[in-house]
Amino acid sequence: MIRLENVTKKFPGMKAPAVKGLNMEVKEGDVCVLVGPSGCGKTTTMKMINRIHEPTSGAIYINGEDALKMNPIKLRLDIGYVIQEIGLFPHMTIEENVATVPNEKKWPKDKISKKVDEMMTLVGLDPKVYRKRYPSALSGGQRQRVGVARAMVSDPPIMLMDEPFGAVDPITRARLQNEFLRIQERMGKTIVFVTHDIDEAIKMGDTIAVMRDGCLVQHATPSDLLSAPADEFVASLVGRNRSIKRLHLVRIREILQEVDRAKPATVDMPLDELKKRLEDSDIRSVMVVDRDNKLKGIIGVDDLKKKTGEVAADYIQDITESVTSDATLNDALSVMLECGEGYVAIVNEDDQYEGTITLGDLLNVVKEDG
């Protein structure tokens, strides 16, 4: 899909080239993450693909076609582009921002409007609320979403993303990453993704290209990179705690089936039955759901002693944090550590209960892989 052959880029006035004789291929539908310390040439490499920077020498092929011989404007119209600073147009509404590329392509008005609605919904922004707002009225996370929607609106087969989630807080970042992976699962785009965060690379990438001083050091799948780093540099980049990093690679839903845990209690469950449930539970608590299977709270063994009542609803305690099943095990772990509990409730997008994961489950995964 994207092939770089012997690509070198030397900026005028710089002694060393920013990128030296790079050879790389990204397969169709893959997310390729370029990772490395700042100044390693990863952003330059990405920006040569849509010719924001022109290579000094070498060739770039997109679908077998020589990108350097194509009209750059046409080339860019078919490549989605998200940069770290997002670069939303401050004088345009969200709607106009998202419609940028379709407007450049001169789509009919009603088609643009429909597609804008669709994209905003896809990235989780209600068009009715946000269409007419200006970027200055949005939070950092919402702007990132608009940036992604704007890049994807004309359905380009290729996307270039330069630290798209770099400027938001860690919790929002994890959520955006998960949403992005969910969208990507459906869209199957070919993506070149730049980051300096190895954890993000492991989580997002189908393949990871590690760069250093303008050279490609290793290009491998995340699990190969973790188990067989090519040299000292890659090993130090992935760090000592590689087994913990493996938690980035596994999604909760992948292990949820194997976990055997007590069924949740319902809000109207009588006391006797509730006690039985608690005895069956390996975490001395049970989750409580309502009739629609929506997560309502939790009851621990101690709660039975503290309070009185006939049914489960009388003993219920609020749950502060839960995670969705498309989050990674690492997300689950950080929630557990944050809440100081050895378990976390798993819900779907509609807040319906899907299961519970414990610290022990995570340990098992790490042990199996190790």
Binding site: I52, R76, Y81, I83, E85, G87, F89, H91, T100
Partner: protein
């Protein structure tokens, strides 16, 4: 709806009415025969039309030239020139307006055209400087993302850079208009006419009423134009 009517029609009309009232009052209540001879409707109207022509012709040229040169200097290929030109412009701005008029009198002589030309040159400066500063202050990430999405340099200029720079460009035009209307009162010294004629005549015959009429009308003109441009700016810039 009502707010628009108020902003665009009623307030400007009120300001114009103030001017009309001043003229009607002074023309009909001259303090003596000398004032009556100077302050006639035809004299005041002539001063007004001369003043407006001085201002409109010179401003039209200044916006055209200042805007275009500002845009050209902001292009990456000419950017290095832009910084230098900006400094020259800043120095030019420190020359007093009377000195500019006097300077052009020594080179080009007397008359309306010389006055227009001097005002034109003087008004270019803030427009050029603000156009250049406005465009070059647009966030590079905004330009890069526009470029990366496949917008041509011309489209980026027309759709992104200029609209984002509007507030600064219009502020430049606003400054230029106010300075222009004020400096145009000095055109009388080189035979350019305008409200300056009334003021200078008033001074030489020592009649306060004539001075007041000329100065008041010139000030009112500046206020009205400043107000209208301010409204246009609000209209164009709804996003900040």
């Amino acid at each position: 709806m009502f707010r628009n009517l108020w902003k665009w029609i009623i307030i400007p009309l009120l300001l114009v009415t103030v001017g009309i009232v001043i003229v009607i009052y002074t023309v009909n209540n001259p303090t003596d025969s000398l004032v009556a001879r100077v302050l006639t409707y035809s004299n005041v109207l002539r001063a007004l039309s001369e003043h407006m022509s001085l201002m409109l012709v010179s401003m039209f040229g200044a916006i055209l030239v200042g805007g275009l040169v500002g845009i050209l200097l902001s292009r990456p290929e000419l950017y290095y020139l832009g910084r230098g030109v900006e400094n020259i412009v800043n120095i030019g701005q420190t020359i007093p307006s009377l000195a500019i008029l006097a300077l052009f009198y020594t080179i080009l002589g007397l008359g309306f055209r010389v006055a227009v030309f001097a005002l034109f040159l003087y008004s270019i400066l803030p427009i050029l400087r603000n156009t250049f500063a406005g465009i070059t202050s647009v966030d590079t990430s905004v330009i890069e993302s526009a470029k990366g999405m496949g917008m041509s340099p011309f489209r980026i200029l027309a759709k992104i850079e200029l609209p984002i720079a509007y507030p600064i460009i219009i502020a430049g035009i606003r400054t230029a208009v106010v300075i222009n209307v004020g400096a145009a009162t000095l055109a009388t010294f080189i035979g350019g006419g305008g409200f300056g004629d009334l003021i200078v005549t008033g001074l030489s015959v020592r009649r306060d009423m004539v001075i007041f009429t000329g100065a008041g009308l010139a000030a009112l003109t500046a206020i009205i134009l400043d107000y209208i441009i301010g409204q246009v700016e609000q209209r164009l810039v709804r996003w900040s």
